[in-house]
């Protein structure tokens, strides 16, 4: 703060360390944690994709087309036959099966469909603006043509576009769920630690009870009870609430533990003796000290949320089509028959694993950094 008004003398490393705020110390330690830094960047990229999902998608993720059923992944070629730079994909052609007379679509390597950047595709709304600009799209598509980087599913929908749009749903469900859990966790953990006694005992027992129940059967049961005619949004929020109802306990334990430990600290005692109000003690002195712990706990809770949603939707009891999430995409890959026919349907496994790994490393790094003196 002071630095706005007068230049601070150059500080030695030790002095800088001694004068740093808790947040600065955490940040310095975190920066030294390479893997966690990289993971942080990966997580940030994932959320960027979630924000700009429609822009990155190439085809309407809901548009079905029986003719493009189970098309294998199509590579994008960067150079035309004459060597000039012009990315293109091969078009499709219909061939009639000589026995069944059914029209089957296969790749036609002779027909090149050029790709354009910032071209027009299906319309969507971005931050309230209606637009149809996409990062890349086909210049002169015929019916059935598409950029199938990751192939198509049984209904002929583009897996890449669905994957990108699913990222938004799966990642936000984690965020919303963690927000609810955090609210419950901080509230109940804080109340438990602050009042102690009977209140504490009851809350602690409830936490133990919740932790000793097998969660998936309960989630399944509750999720199955959601009415069939609910809209996608209603189901989305209900599933989030169901997941967070059983997930807040870890956060509550962290909050309570830290709260109790901090209450015994000398600086809290000092603030009390100096006559600070309990509100001031909690928000000015205690909260900054365990904020970083909460951030760390949150970044470890997020992947658990994402796994929960993915599992529920995978079993057909979470989000329901037409919603698109990683779990719903993986549902298509549930049987060995469909996997044998179209192994690319397993593509959604990659972002799931990547994001969970990144969140775990990030959370670990944050947790280590949260104890700057430790």
């Amino acid at each position: 703060m002071f630095s706005f008004f007068r230049r601070q003398p150059k500080l030695s490393q030790a002095e800088r360390y001694a004068q740093a705020t808790q947040f600065q110390l955490t940040w310095w330690r975190f920066r030294r944690h390479r893997v966690a830094m990289v993971s942080g960047v990966i997580v940030a990229l994932f959320y960027l994709v979630a924000v700009g999902a429609d822009f990155l998608a190439t085809t309407d993720p809901h548009a079905t087309d029986a003719r493009t059923s189970y098309i294998a992944p199509q590579p994008i070629r960067l150079f035309e036959d004459d060597g000039s730079f012009q990315p293109y994909v091969s078009g499709l052609k219909g061939v009639r099966d000589p026995k069944t007379f059914k029209l089957i679509y296969t790749v036609d390597p002779s027909r090149h469909v050029p790709i354009q950047f910032f071209g027009h595709g299906y319309s969507y709304s971005f931050l309230g603006l209606d637009t149809d600009v996409h990062l890349f799209s086909l210049k002169t598509p015929e019916r059935g043509d598409g950029i199938f980087i990751l192939g198509t599913d049984q209904l002929g929908r583009d897996v890449w576009s669905r994957l990108i749009v699913a990222t938004r749903v799966s990642l936000t469900i984690g965020l919303v769920g963690v927000t609810i859990s955090l609210f419950l966790g901080v509230l109940l953990g804080g109340v438990s630690a602050f009042y102690g006694g009977m209140v504490d005992t009851v809350i602690q027992r409830v936490i133990e009870v919740i932790r000793s129940m097998p969660t998936i059967p309960l989630w399944l049961g509750l999720a199955a009870a959601l009415p069939n005619d609910w809209s996608v949004t209603q189901v989305y929020f209900s599933i989030t609430v169901i997941i967070s109802l059983l997930a807040w306990t870890d956060l509550a334990r962290v909050v309570r533990g830290k709260f109790l430990a901090l209450r015994e600290e000398e600086f809290v005692m000092a603030a009390e003796l100096a006559g600070a109000s309990s509100g001031r003690i909690i928000f000015r002195h205690m909260l900054p000290s365990f904020l970083s712990h909460i951030i760390a706990a949150v970044s470890l809770a997020l992947p658990a949320m994402i796994i929960s949603e993915t599992s529920l939707s995978f079993l057909g009891l979470g989000l329901r089509p037409p919603a698109i999430s990683w779990g719903i995409l993986l549902q298509d890959a549930q049987s060995i028959q469909s996997l044998a026919l179209a192994p690319w349907l397993l593509a959604a496994a990659v972002p799931v694993i990547l994001v969970i790994l990144a969140f775990n490393f990030l959370g670990d790094g944050l947790r280590d950094a949260a104890d700057p003196y430790g």
Binding site: I216, L315, G316
Partner: protein, 329 residues
């Protein structure tokens, strides 16, 4: 010590009661009247139900009475061993579930053993040889174990086995034993099929426990009592196994109590992928088809068995930790 057991027991009963409420909620939540749907379902199958029979059934389930009366009637019947009727299978729920509940428990317990059997030695090794190549490899495997949800792992293994080995993994029995009555050969067949799903189910828990064991043991290795043991002239191996490992075992053991519900949960989902004859596929199907009594009964059974499992591991923990035993004296 007695207080501890009594407290755990009361907590367990409280949990069971809560689970029974939840199971009942699962039965009640779907819209409509169970008896009406059941009769309609029977009628669709060509069987007819007389008005008297319908009324008797209504009375049995307490239809039209306050919700707590219905709950009371249900719980009394459950305690007496009557879990209700399965709408879809048109048979008593207990009959439909049959062996499956035991196979679920067997799978979860096998996964628990695998978790223990792997996490303990690997955790000890990683801590004692901290920062060795093997430690890094185990840490990496650990991270993969944590990051790959077990149903995804099952899917990937299923696909890999099919694609590269031409094998169809899955199931707990070979085709000829699946419906056969229990014989020694069937048990032998089961013991062949059990390890793979148990290992898949155990991986993420193992990964977490390795990390816990390693961190605890690293803490314990720095404690003065380790120096005391060395100063007595014990060999390094004996020192480590008798003292710090023993101390690190404690938080490890208390994590087992929370591992069991987690494994039971996981068994549901991997059973669906691997086609295992546990209650998992049954539960999901019952819930999707709104076969309420079957779904409710499975949730209740799994909950109760988990509570029993947790209680047993609490007792083990108490037996292991002298401080817990003497605290209440």
């Amino acid at each position: 010590m007695i207080t501890f057991i009594v407290r755990r027991l009361l907590l367990g009963l409280f949990t069971v009661w809560l689970i029974s409420m939840l199971a009942f909620a699962i039965i009640q939540l779907p819209p409509g009247d169970f008896v009406d749907s059941y009769i309609a379902n029977l009628a669709a199958g060509g069987a007819s139900v007389s008005a008297d029979e319908a009324n008797a059934m209504r009375k049995l389930y307490g239809m039209g009475q306050p919700i707590y009366v219905q709950y009371g009637k249900w719980i009394v019947r459950v305690v007496a061993g009557d879990l209700g009727e399965s709408m879809e299978w048109r048979r008593p729920v207990a009959e439909v579930i049959g062996d499956r509940i035991w196979l679920t428990l067997l799978l979860s317990f096998a996964a628990l053993l695998v978790t223990w059997g792997l996490a303990l030695p690997i955790g000890i090794f990683s801590a004692v040889r901290q920062y060795s190549v093997a430690d890094y490899i185990f840490t990496l495997i650990g991270f993969i174990g944590i990051a790959v949800p077990n149903f995804l792992l099952a899917l990937i293994i299923l696909y890999a086995a099919f694609r590269y080995l031409g094998l169809s993994v899955g199931g707990l029995f070979s085709a000829e034993y699946a419906l056969a009555p229990w014989t020694w050969d069937k048990v032998k067949d089961l013991s062949w099929h059990l390890p793979l799903p148990a290992m898949i189910l155990a991986l993420s828990g193992t990964a977490q426990l390795i990390r816990i064991m390693r961190a605890n043991l690293l803490d314990e290795l720095r404690k003065p009592y380790v120096v005391t043991a060395r100063a007595k002239g014990l060999s390094e191996m004996r020192t480590i196994l008798k003292y710090p490992v023993r101390a690190a075992l404690n938080p490890f053991a208390s994590n087992i109590a929370y591992l069991f519900p987690y494994l039971v949960s996981g068994s549901i989902i991997i059973s669906i992928v691997l086609g295992l004859p546990t209650v998992g596929p049954l539960l999901v199907r019952a819930l999707i088809a709104q076969d309420v009594y079957l779904g409710g009964a499975i949730v209740l059974l799994l909950g109760v068995l988990t509570v029993i499992g947790t209680f047993i591991s609490d007792l083990v923990l108490m037996w292991v930790d002298p401080r817990l035993r003497h605290q209440m004296d």
